[in-house]
């Protein structure tokens, strides 16, 4: 039983010691003439330092993930010592210290890029694991096919995903109806019509919208847009008197998506070769005819990809719907009624008092997995389309 802090300090100390000793050993091995060494003396030091630290940190991380706390301290110290002694013994004038040091560095670089993979694995595992718990307590058919959502923490709740999916899709649909034409026309105007000056002002201004955190949009929906829609549209027209509604969340989300759609479409429209425009203009078409009949059809696959990405964004958006859409799960066509989404329910089931044995909490993981799968499919599809389209004009 070696305390962790002692073994870490030991490893660090050995590393630093090696960094100091190794160059001297190397110079001594070369008979005092550093020029005959295969590498600069400090490369020997670096090699020893890394040979000590890289394996000990690897053991530290692997061990704490596996929960092997008992012998971890010893393991780290032993590995550090082996690295220290091994790399010092290997020093000869012909030892290519730089190459060896660099292979340690490369290992670090590879480890860093594997973290991205591990994140995905972690996401999938965390959801599959808990979702399996959920489905062992709750029939999957009732989850995917039931139209009733009424969780009850005393048990016996109905947890059907359909009303949540309906709310999610309805809100996303309204957001896209609003954002796609505006974003697309803005992109067309900026890339085809706008003067350089106008572009230099309007483009950053639209991008500001992309930099605003979603909680700000959420508050905007709650404080301004919701009451406005209720007082001037819903109530006078007899559609209901709820400030949080599908329309509120949809419109505000639409505003959030404008810069997303416009900057993606802007890239795609700019990728259409100038020669195609010139050909069309040369035949006497007006600028708008060129755009409608040449540029847009050529860019269509890319634009579809952009719209899919925007849709995936809308489906996964949380704060706007938490603050703007309401919490009532219902299947209704009235856009001025409060409805709820998958993300809202994930938040409400996982905040506050949670009990990880009850299906009412675990359902959030099944919801999360559904959300992840839907957005993943949309993303992959969109990325594939955009990639293919890029290759077409490269």
């Amino acid at each position: 039983m070696l305390p962790m802090s002692v073994s870490l300090i030991l490893a660090l100390g050995l590393g630093v010691l090696g960094y100091v000793i190794a160059p001297r050993r190397a110079v001594a091995a070369a008979g005092g003439d550093a020029r005959t060494l295969a590498a600069l003396p400090r490369q020997y030091g670096l090699n020893t330092l890394l040979a000590v630290l890289v394996p000990s940190f690897a053991i530290l991380i692997a061990g704490s993930l596996a929960g092997a706390g008992l012998y971890l301290g010893w393991a780290i110290s032993i590995v550090a010592f082996i690295g220290f002694a091994g790399s010092l013994f290997k020093i000869t004038p012909d030892y290519r210290a730089r190459t060896h040091a660099e292979s340690w560095i490369k290992l670090i670089l590879i480890a860093a890029s594997v973290i991205a993979i591990l994140t995905t694995v972690g996401i999938v595992f965390s959801m599959v694991f808990e979702a399996r718990n959920f489905f062992s307590q709750y029939d999957w058919k009732d989850f995917f096919l039931s139209a009733e959502w009424s969780p009850n923490f005393r048990g016996n709740s109905s947890l059907g995903i359909l009303p949540l999916l309906w709310g999610t899709l309805y809100i996303s649909f309204i957001a896209l109806i609003f954002a796609v034409p505006i974003g697309l026309f803005a992109a067309i105007y900026l890339s085809e019509y706008a003067s350089r000056r106008m572009r230099s002002i309007a483009k950053p201004a639209i991008e500001i919208l992309a930099g605003i955190p979603t909680i700000v949009y959420g508050l905007f929906a709650l404080v301004t847009v919701g009451p406005f829609l209720r007082d001037y549209f819903a109530a006078p027209m007899g559609f209901g008197d709820s400030a949080s509604s599908v329309m509120t969340a949809g419109l505000v989300m639409g505003v959030m998506l404008i810069p997303f759609v416009s900057s993606l479409s802007d890239d795609i429209i700019n990728a259409v070769p100038q020669t195609m425009r010139d050909g069309s203009l040369g035949l006497g078409a007006t600028k708008s005819e060129t755009i409608r009949q040449v540029v847009i059809p050529a860019a269509l696959p890319g634009i579809v990809g952009a719209i899919l990405l925007a849709a995936s964004r809308a489906i996964g958006e949380t704060m706007i719907v938490v603050l703007g859409a309401g919490a009532a799960a219902r299947l209704s066509l009235n856009p001025f009624e409060a409805m709820t989404t998958v993300t809202v329910k994930i938040v409400s089931q996982l905040t506050g008092d949670t009990d990880f044995a009850s299906p009412e909490t675990l359902v959030a993981f099944a919801l999360g997995m559904t959300l992840f799968v839907i957005t993943l499919c949309l993303n992959v599809l969109a990325l594939m389309i955009v990639r293919k389209y890029r290759e077409q004009y490269e």
């Binding site: 005819e289 603050l323 999360g368």
Partner: protein, 440 residues
């Protein structure tokens, strides 16, 4: 068929030109709509939130009668602590009534209603001061105390005589008296530093709620994100951009990273809850867990921008380094990386700004908790960044869930603060890009 002059447009040309003009106006319209939305969003937030930076307080002298605060007369703290804030409330009432009488103001309000004009927080303020310095008991001391949320709202225009008449918590008479007290200089509305430094306050006292804990929590999380995401992100990008062979394995990593960038943020919250809290047993609501989740979330952003920055360094630089005998690793670390640094920094700052505004994943890892203690960066019991905390955007969400309308103003004020932080970060990013960007 008669031939017309080319200079006069025929019907078809006119139609086509009209279509052209129409099309162009649609484009302009779209931009105008986007701008209007931006303007509306900002004015809505600023108009409801700017008043959070002002606060009405009363400067009155409070008689700290010994009979009430320290019956034993020993100034023994243990005994004095037994007098709760309720015991202080009557002293505050005496203080403000004396002030009203000294000014000779006429009012029909009962003593109780006059006492209510001060915030519930005011008694705690006085109590803390007395306990910190027991010697002042028995004297009259001048205090600057918060007024209640409705009075404060009246001076900021949020509460009017009409709304007060309908409100059970205040009355027009109270507001009239408050106006008279303000004219006499007892009540004053000044800049509200406490909003930026004080901790959160309970449901009934929006006037005392501040962002201190939230700002500190956000700061801790940003430190975690910066320390972890920057080195890992840069290392991963260097490998993928400079060393990785083109094969199926690196293809998987690439697709994976672009997918991670598009995964909904709430999914990262589920990851944090399941892995960091339930499995690895980090403390709930701690900036450490928040920072780890945000790190995983910002990594793809940092990797994508770092790779772009590395890619923009021309190959001739690498070739020159290799030509004079540098190894591949040396050419990257000594030459390519320093040249790509401004781009990497810009990308990192933008990633940090994104992380600072992110709310949804933090809700799931318990940062919605009501926290009044300033979290310590390190404590023996909770470890590094392990104490419960909140974050700026979560504090906004928290305040929107409360009933008192005073909290809407606080939430918008918090958003203004958040936006100012984001503005500063983005300005730094733009400055760095302008100053150090090189065109090859």
């Amino acid at each position: 068929m008669t031939h017309k002059s080319l200079l006069t447009a025929d019907a078809r040309t006119k139609k086509r030109n009209a279509a052209e003009a129409r099309f162009k106006s649609y484009g302009l319209g779209a931009i105008v709509v986007a701008m209007l939305a931006l303007a509306l969003l900002l004015t809505s937030v600023v108009s409801t939130g700017s008043s959070a930076f002002k606060q009405t307080s009363a400067t009155i002298s409070i008689p700290l009668t010994e009979a009430k605060l320290d019956k034993s007369g020993t100034r023994d703290l243990a005994v004095m602590k037994k007098v709760t804030t309720i015991g202080y409330t009557s002293l505050l009432r005496d203080g403000i009534i004396t002030a009203v009488e000294e000014l000779g103001l006429e009012t029909t309000l009962s003593a109780k209603d006059i006492g209510k004009m001060l915030s519930k927080e005011a008694a705690a303020t006085v109590r803390n001061r007395v306990l910190a310095n027991p010697e002042i008991v028995g004297t009259s001391v001048e205090f600057k105390l918060l007024t209640n949320g409705r009075i404060d709202g009246y001076f900021k225009g949020r509460v009017t005589m009409e709304s007060a008449a309908l409100d059970g918590n205040t009355s027009p008479e109270e507001l009239q008296l408050a106006q008279q007290l303000a004219d006499a200089g007892v009540f004053a509305t000044t800049f509200n530093w406490a909003f930026l430094t004080a901790p959160d306050a309970s449901d009934q006292r929006p006037e005392a709620a501040g962002l201190g804990v939230a700002i500190l929590g956000s700061l801790y999380m940003m430190i975690v994100v910066l320390v972890l995401a920057l080195p890992i992100g840069v290392a991963a990008s260097i490998y993928l951009e400079e060393f990785a062979p083109k094969n199926r394995w690196t293809d998987v990593i690439e697709v994976n990273i672009s997918n991670l960038a598009a995964v909904p943020s709430i999914v990262y919250g589920i990851l944090g809850l399941a892995i960091f809290i339930n499995f690895m047993e980090f403390n709930q609501s701690s900036p450490m867990v928040g920072g780890l989740v945000l790190t995983l979330m910002t990594l793809p952003t940092i990797i994508i921008s770092t790779r772009a920055a590395l890619k923009s360094v021309p190959p001739s630089i690498r070739d020159a380094a290799l030509g004079v005998g540098a190894s591949k690793m040396q050419s990257v670390f000594h030459h390519v990386l320093p040249l790509a640094a401004p781009g990497i920094l810009t990308g990192t700052i933008i990633g940090l700004a994104q992380a600072l505004g992110e709310t949804a994943p933090l809700l799931l890892i318990g940062m919605v908790a009501f926290v009044r203690e300033y979290p310590a960066a390190y404590s023996a019991g909770a470890g590094l960044f392990g104490e419960a905390s909140t974050a700026l955007p979560v504090q906004v969400f928290n305040w929107t869930q409360r009933a008192d309308p005073g909290f809407v103003e606080r939430a918008s004020g918090a958003i203004i603060t958040l936006l100012i932080f984001l503005l500063i970060m983005n300005a730094i990013a733009i400055f760095l890009r302008r100053k150090f960007e090189r065109r090859w």
